[in-house]
């Protein structure tokens, strides 16, 4: 042991060293806390969220994850999903109890920029039932989102929350969609 000072000292000079071993690989530098503590892989999507959105850790099916609104209940998340644009648009509509759109109706939906391409802009409002985990339907909700095929993958950006709060964040959502970028 070659530490030069006393154990209780407030400052110590460390002299003990060791050489590289077979356990020391090339270090991963500048790892984020998520990477250091959860071995989380870097997100395959990155974007520039507005400052008033609360950044949450990524989790399954949510590559980017945020909260918004004064109620604290609004959610925004980005997913890489499977299926077609039409299937996912209609799945979102079903969550609000709306009828599925035909292919012709889908063509009529607005397009907005997302991740260097264009995606279908989807809006719905009413009673929201996510249809997962037996959660109770929530009245007075609204959805705004974008669905697009990007690089052979289906990219979805979904905002769910109280109708007034979603309405107030629509422009921010569109700007965020435009800022999205696939990283791998």
């Amino acid at each position: 042991m070659t530490i030069a000072c006393e154990r209780n000292a407030a400052t110590m000079s460390v002299e003990e060293t060791r050489t590289t071993t077979t356990k020391d690989g090339s270090p991963k530098l500048f790892a984020t806390s998520d990477e250091r503590f959860r071995n989380a892989q870097p997100s395959p999507v990155k974007g520039d969220p507005p400052e008033n959105w609360l950044v949450l850790p990524a989790k399954q099916f949510r590559e980017l994850n945020y909260r918004f609104g004064e109620s604290g209940s609004g959610e925004v998340y980005v997913s890489l999903a499977s299926g077609s644009v039409g299937d996912n648009v209609n799945r979102w509509f079903r969550q609000f109890g709306e009828a599925a759109l035909s292919a012709a109706d889908l063509e009529k939906l607005a397009r907005i920029p997302i991740a260097g391409t264009e995606g279908v802009w989807v809006e719905a409002r009413g009673e929201y039932a996510a249809g997962m985990g037996g959660a109770a339907a929530r009245p007075g909700q609204a959805l705004a989102g974008v669905i697009s095929q990007v690089g052979g993958r289906l990219l979805t950006l979904k905002m769910i929350g109280l109708e007034a709060e979603v309405e107030a964040e629509k422009d921010s959502l569109k700007a965020f969609a435009a800022s999205l970028e696939l990283t791998r």
Binding site: R7, A10, M12, K23, S26, S33, R36, F37
Partner: protein, 412 residues
């Protein structure tokens, strides 16, 4: 001890020195210390079931433990009796003194006592071996996969903080802050560490024996812990098997101008080190179990596990290895009860993995690496004790046969 040794109470008029000498060399003290060791060993054996082997050994036999209160004490009206016992280390030390004074110096000298003297030397040798092992031995484990090479063992318990400069993506030298300088940094206490050749200091505080970094958004804090980059150290109950604990602490970098970085978490339960940039130099800071560099490399060629038919009871684990040193290669086998001893190190076959592997799956072998200067002393001391007892037996037998012969002659 020789029962013929005089151990009666010192008559009045003896000097204090003589009284102390009589006490320390007496048969009574030997009896009491041996009974205490028996009691301590029995209690520790029972206690380690609930509290784990390592903490129990520390509690009962560490030099830091002057006295102890065993868990298994009688209760009166639901309250445990405060029974204090002396620490095993000091009981052994007292027995050593007793053996030297009573069993070597004070014992009656003569041809009939040669066997006793030899046995007492053996016991002294054994006690000294225990002390040497306690103070100077090191233990760790080395895991090696088939076809791979290792030159390092990892300590079972000690977490250290390592600082290293990265040059061309690699690190060559690691500055090591040993665990004994971290574990007392609790309750607001902090310490600043300087490293030769490193342009900053490291301030460490908030050490926790077992903790995991938790995301404050997912697991709200319970104790208003310090949050660093969205994470805080969540204290966990200590594991019974203490090698499963994850040490953790908070750190700040203090740059040459006195500027401090934001606090960051150092955790045994982390995948990657923390990175610090200072000018155009880059450093890693990591917390991990202490690595112990071996003077040679071990390459595992094959690992074989045999089980008793129809059971999961191990019949034989065999690691065929190559020891690589200075360009030389030695083929060896390490198996259960057949360790490799080399250059003061002993490699025991300890474990293997992965569990449930099928035939043909790549395996890894785990060796317990022990550096103990007194490694073979207990064995040798037992030989000495046994030889001394044999001499005593033969001396007594000779005396008995001689006496019988003389009786017969006298009768004739």
């Amino acid at each position: 001890m020789d029962k013929k040794t005089k151990t009666t109470h010192a008559p009045t008029g003896k000097s204090l020195f003589r009284k102390v000498y009589d006490f320390l060399s007496g048969f009574h003290l030997a009896t009491v210390t041996l009974l205490l060791l028996l009691l301590l060993t029995w209690l520790a054996t029972l206690e380690q079931i609930d509290h784990g082997l390592y903490p129990t050994l520390n509690k009962y036999f560490s030099w830091k433990s002057w006295y102890l209160i065993p868990d298994m004490v009688p209760e009166i009206n639901g309250k445990k009796l405060p029974i204090f016992l002396p620490g095993g280390y000091y009981v052994c030390a007292l027995l050593l003194v007793n053996m030297i004074l009573g069993g070597i110096i004070r014992i009656r000298k003569g041809p009939k006592q040669i066997g006793n003297l030899i046995s007492h030397f053996g016991i002294i040798f054994m006690l000294l071996g225990g002390g040497v092992a306690h103070h100077f031995s090191e233990r760790g484990n080395m895991a090696v996969s088939e076809g791979e090479t290792s030159n390092v063992a990892e300590d079972y318990h000690e977490y250290v903080v390592e600082v290293s400069e990265v040059k061309d993506g690699e690190r060559e030298e690691f500055h090591v802050v040993r665990g004994e300088y971290l574990t007392d940094l609790k309750g607001g206490k902090s310490r600043i560490f300087d490293f030769e050749g490193i342009p900053f200091s490291l301030e460490i505080s908030g050490y926790l024996v077992n903790s995991v970094p938790s995301n404050q958004l997912e697991r709200p804090r319970q104790k208003n812990e310090l949050v660093a980059d969205g994470y805080y150290l969540e204290e966990m109950p200590g594991e019974v098997e203490t090698e499963r604990n994850f040490g953790g602490c908070y750190a700040r970098v203090i740059f040459e101008g006195g500027e401090k970085s934001d606090p960051f978490i150092m955790a045994g339960a982390s995948y990657y080190p923390f990175t610090v940039r200072d000018g155009d130099r880059v450093f890693t800071i990591d917390m991990r179990k202490r690595l112990w560099v071996m003077p040679f490399e071990v390459k595992l060629d094959t690992f074989t596990a045999d089980f008793h038919p129809g059971t999961s009871m191990p019949a034989k684990f065999v690691s065929d290895i190559r020891r690589l040193e200075n360009g030389q290669e030695s083929k060896l086998t390490i198996s259960m009860n057949e360790p490799m001893r080399y250059e003061g190190l002993t490699f025991f076959q300890a474990s293997y993995g992965p569990q449930g592997a099928k035939p043909g799956d790549p395996m890894y072998s785990v060796f317990e690496v022990v550096k103990n200067p007194a490694d073979k002393w207990p064995e040798y001391s037992l030989y000495v004790v046994a030889f001394g007892m044999l001499v005593t037996f033969l001396t007594k037998l000779g005396g008995h046969l001689g006496a019988s012969s003389r009786k017969r002659k006298n009768a004739e």
